[in-house]
């Protein structure tokens, strides 16, 4: 039933995207039928509409995978309801036209994520949840304070109206501080350095299917909001240098941290952070090209990160351990798995023709134009990432596992991974449509303040 529901959501999301791409006047629904700027609405505009599709795809794959990973006890603990609530929250954030509404969806996602993290009530989960909760509430406070400042100065919460006002009026103390607070709060939600410490431990604590959904959706939701706020509201001209520094530090340092992790979940947790760094680098260029790169990167990374978490869950199932030192032999016992896992791994490493290569290329290109040091940091991080991926492959797939038999990966897990691997391959082989959508998204974000 859960799978059918997710398939239906996916179909709806695709319909929405088609509408977003075709409708010349913006497809907006203001709930309650009130005029724009008064009520809260959903708009089928880019990039939200395409991200909804990606989110639905990830949720669908996770639902397939969950057949083998989520048992009766976890379902009784509310797994289905919590994960659907999370999907709803993420979709809400992608579609909303209102800044305060965005905040509400963040809180819904937070509570749902906390529920998923603590599903088994183990000590590590409690610790992870506590960390995540404290961080997220602090971040939410910063976001809320930023929203309050904007409301206090402009008297509106509608994104389009805000964008128009903020771009036409000179910066004031309050609006500058609002931008900084929103940047800080949303950077925290996206897992950017130095606000990322919650990420590895809370992702490591959650059941792996949930962690995959987190990796795909949670940080990207934060980053989506960051892009909308900085590039949309302020027209991408404010706070570029700090954002660039944050992005460079995240790319390099998070990738570096991943290098010596032995717990696969923490290892990938750091990569999640590092990848958000790339998106932030795109955003920090302040150009349309950069925003395009960021959106493309987001689409690619959501799918790949979720898939990687699904993959390590399968490794754990087959070898009985999360610890790299105690895994191995996957290529001999589960060749199909090794192939399906190789796709997101190579994509993460940025090997052509997978999606990650085009994404990195776009970021590097955007960086060369605006801030070459960002491109250098991106390439440095790419080298570290390749090493880390090679180590992961060598340990989990090549090394032989002593004393224990490697089990078969259940077909449901392979099916879930297959869906996402196919998507990664498709983006890699046909980057053109995704790039076009990313371009349109960048234009839509840039247009947010002006006119439509």
């Amino acid at each position: 039933m859960s799978i059918a529901a997710h398939a239906a959501i996916l179909a709806g999301a695709v319909a929405l995207l088609v509408r977003a791409l075709s409708a010349e006047p913006l497809a907006v629904t203001i709930f309650g039928g009130w005029p724009t700027g008064i009520g809260v609405g959903f708009a089928a505009r880019l990039p939200g509409a395409v991200l909804v599709v990606v989110a639905a795809l990830i949720a669908f794959a996770a639902a397939l995978y969950a057949v083998a990973d989520i048992g009766a006890r976890r379902r009784a603990g509310g797994y289905d309801a919590l994960s659907l609530a999370m999907l709803a929250a993420v979709n809400g954030a992608f579609l909303t036209t209102d800044l305060f509404n965005l905040y509400v969806w963040f809180e819904l996602a937070l509570v749902a994520a906390l529920g998923l993290i603590t599903l088994d009530r183990r000590e590590a989960q409690i610790g992870g949840a506590l960390r995540y909760a404290a961080f997220a509430m602090l971040g939410a406070t910063a976001i809320l304070a930023g929203i309050a400042l904007l409301y206090g100065v402009t008297g509106t919460l509608d994104l389009a109206t805000l964008g128009r006002l903020l771009r036409t009026t000179p910066p004031s103390v309050a609006t500058a501080a609002a931008a900084a607070l929103l940047l800080g709060g949303l950077a925290l939600k996206s897992g950017l350095f130095p606000f990322h410490q919650w990420l590895p431990s809370s992702y490591a604590a959650a059941p792996v299917t949930a962690a995959a959904v987190f990796a795909g959706l949670l940080t990207k939701m934060g980053f989506y909001a960051l892009a909308v706020v900085l590039a949309g509201l302020w027209g991408g001209t404010t706070l570029l240098l700090p954002l660039g520094l944050i992005a460079a530090a995240t790319m390099v340092l998070a990738a570096l941290s991943a290098l010596t992790q032995t717990d696969m979940r923490r290892l990938l947790g750091y990569h999640v952070a590092a990848q958000v760094g790339y998106m932030a680098a795109g955003l920090a260029t302040g150009t349309a090209q950069g925003v395009t790169a960021a959106v493309f990167y987001m689409i690619h990374s959501m799918i790949v990160q979720a898939n990687l978490f699904l993959g390590i869950g399968a490794i754990r199932r087959a070898t009985g351990s999360w610890n790299l030192a105690h895994t191995g032999g996957m290529i001999r016992s589960n060749p199909l798995f090794a192939f399906l896992f190789a796709v997101p791994m190579l994509s993460l490493a940025g090997i052509p023709p997978l999606s990650g290569f085009w994404a990195k290329l776009l970021v590097v290109r955007a960086g060369l134009d605006a801030a070459p040091w960002l491109a250098v940091a991106a390439l440095l991080s790419a080298l570290i990432t390749i090493t880390s991926v090679a180590i992961l492959w060598s340990e989990a797939c090549w090394k032989s596992l002593r004393g224990r038999r490697v089990r078969r990966v259940p077909p449901a897990m392979l099916a879930g991974m297959g869906v996402l691997s196919a998507a990664t391959l498709a983006i890699g082989l046909m980057p053109e449509p995704v790039l076009r959508v990313a371009r349109l998204s960048a234009a839509a974000i840039a247009r947010m303040g002006g006119g439509a």
Partner: protein, 908 residues
Amino acid sequence: MLMLLVLALIAACLVPLVARVVGKGAGLIVAVVPFALLGAFVAFASIVERGWVRSEGWRWAPSLGLDLTFRLDGFSFLFCLLITGIGGLVTIYSGGYLTDKPRHERSRFLTLILLFMVAMLGTVLAENMLLMILFWEATSVLSFLLIGFDSRSPRSRRAAIMALQVTAGGGLALIAATAMIGQVLGTYSMAEAVRRGPELLASNWGAPIVACIMIAAFTKSAQFPFHFWLPNAMQAPTPASAYLHSATMVKLGIYLLARFEPVIAGTAWGRNTLIIVACITMLVAALQALRAESFKSALAYSTIASLGILVLLVGLDGPAASVAMIGFLLAHALYKAALFFCAGSVLHATGTGTLRALGGLRRTLPFTALACTLASLSMAGIPPFLGFISKEFLFEAQLESSWELAPLAVAVLVNAVMVGVAGVITLRPFFLAPQSEVRIEHGESFSLVAPPLLLALAGLVISLEPDWITRVAIRPAVAAVFGRPVAVDVAVWHGPTPMLALSAVVVAIGAAIVIWWRPLHVVLRRHAPIEQFGLERLWERSVRATLRLSAGLTARVEHGDLSGYLATAIAGFVTLVVWALWQAGAPLRLPGDDPVRLAEAAVALVGVAGALAAARARNLLAAMIAVGLTGFAVAITFMLNGAPDLSITQFTVEALIVVLLTALLLVVPLDAPTTRERSRRVGHMAIAASFAAVMFVVMLDMAGATNATPAADWFGRMSYVAGKGHNVVNVILVDFRGFDTLGETSVIAVAALLGASLLHARTRPDPVAARSVHFSFHAASRPLFWLLLAASVVILWRGHDQPGGGFVGGLVAALAFAVLSLARGVGEAARALRSSPVMLVAIGLGLAVASGLPSMIGGAPFLTHLWWEPGGGLPKLGTTILFDLGVYAVVLGAVLTFLFGLQREAAR
């Protein structure tokens, strides 16, 4: 050409099927694919020999600048012949070499080899540079997979990772170079890039582009200081070493340099860098080749030296250099692949690769010995082999070029070492007597013998009958590299020339090396400091340092102390805000004149006092009360400033927090001594105070801004007219911004779900013993419960017009249950509810959502509320009431979930 590549790719994917069915003869069958491709390429010969170029192109992703464009000229044609020809022999050889391996491993190996062949062909045929990167990176990844093919061995895995690090790092440099070229020229066409080289060099990116291309080439072609990965890569099965690590892949760097030679030559330092790097590489590799103990590593170092020679030839100017480069490329590919095959056969037959332990194999492996002899003669540059001709070209190029004699001296020395190595690897295993008996595990087979013999004979045949290959491959390749046709005269005998004299010197020194190899070898090995030459050590050390850095960084950043993380985050926020303020440089606005009212000021000060007391309190109960005090003070502030709704809500929330947290505080120790050292406390105080100070300033400015709130005015005007409510706040909540409220209601509902899951007792709890409460409280609790419940309903009902609404109503109702549970225990309170709290949440959420649905039938958006006004004194009815009722139920259910759960948990 695309068709050929696609067909080859499909064939590679079909290999597993074939290899599983066929078994041992798979190599011979699979070899059909490369040979068919070879045939197909030879068919292009008529185009290439006229100096024409065959191009193909399709669109792929034009907005990325990525096109499927291929280009076959003389240079790529030569590569294609080598790739497919040697590829065919490698597949045949692999079939014989991997006889011991299980069937699926053999099929995997053959698949990888064929995939690699496709990647190589793609790299040399691609015209679009992005397309070339695609294939280039594919060769790196496949090389990684082949080096680590024997994946159980830690050494192979280590070697594979090292090779990938180096070559993928070079790949990143190539990506950088390509991105920069695209940035300058707006196109990714390689021909364009070379043609418009001066434009590239004139731009800001000129030097970085050339440097990045060089790095990419040096890593791939194992040049100093990146050469160390290649000897380690010998962990790959020998057929892979022969194919990837000597004949083809490592020549891609040369390919790239040769293609970009005009651009490199355009810089002042380009040629010099190439020649210096090449000379260092040659010397280091020659030295290491003398120190090498195993057959394969001796070959590996001599390969590095040969690659150095090729780089040197790219660096030299003049047509002779191009001729020499092409000639040596061909000769080296032929003899080195043959020698690797021989080394593999010896390894396969004896199981040992150490030269010293081998001997006398000519009797057991006669054909291998023959092939090895022929190939070695070519390597040593003995006439009439192809190696001799190419060496003549090399010396001619050096003499003709405008360079000093130093490179020539290096070349002579290195060639002498090559002679020595060639002698040793032939004489030692095959012809000299063994020191101890050599055990033979496998004999020769057709698959093992034919490939090396064919290659070795090719080296002889070409030099004796050079016409066809010169016309078809060498001359067009030289023309493609040099840029215009060059007369090429491939012949063994040119009469007495300076080159011949140099050759004689080389052979003489080489012979001396062969004779005194043993003492030389021993002396060199004994000198450990030479190890320092090994950049491998340096690399290892830097990798280890990086790992240490990583571990240190993680330990420092992820210290496990939440307090430190949060301090960093808050400090980060403050920094960002301060930076933004400094950057904006806007003047601070102050709020207008606004007299201080005494009562309100007192209330506010109570709030501050409560907050400070809470921060200072050592006792948790005291802290909770202090926090509550602040909450109440803020509630009163709301009341005094025209916000009755907020005020009641805040009051109720504070009361409920006290009730709920009391359940928690009942089980934990209340006395909480400070957990922070003094210095830490001071630091934290500074961080918190700086945040507060910044926020204070910012709030002043916000309040000082001219406050035009168009939306708020609109609400005031439309609330009654459109929303049918007098209480504007409530109308906003249930109607104008009903969607926010729905989201918030879902937050509460999900929180309830979480609470139910976390607080659900796995074991049935003991019946809660009634706590002793004052009898008057016990007696009063029932009436109080009903009173509060009734009040909550009233608050809910009148919310639309008067202060109140679903939230407050739900909270007050929860308070009613709280009273009951405090006085009479959880059990009784739960019974009074007559339903499970989570069920109440579900029903409430359903109601709230359903209230927005009816209007959708009429085509209006979700949450458009409908009204029914019966008139005649009867109250008006709207779907908003349903919505508010839903909110009421969700809030009540959620609070009770936590209330009952926490109290039960506390009572355990």
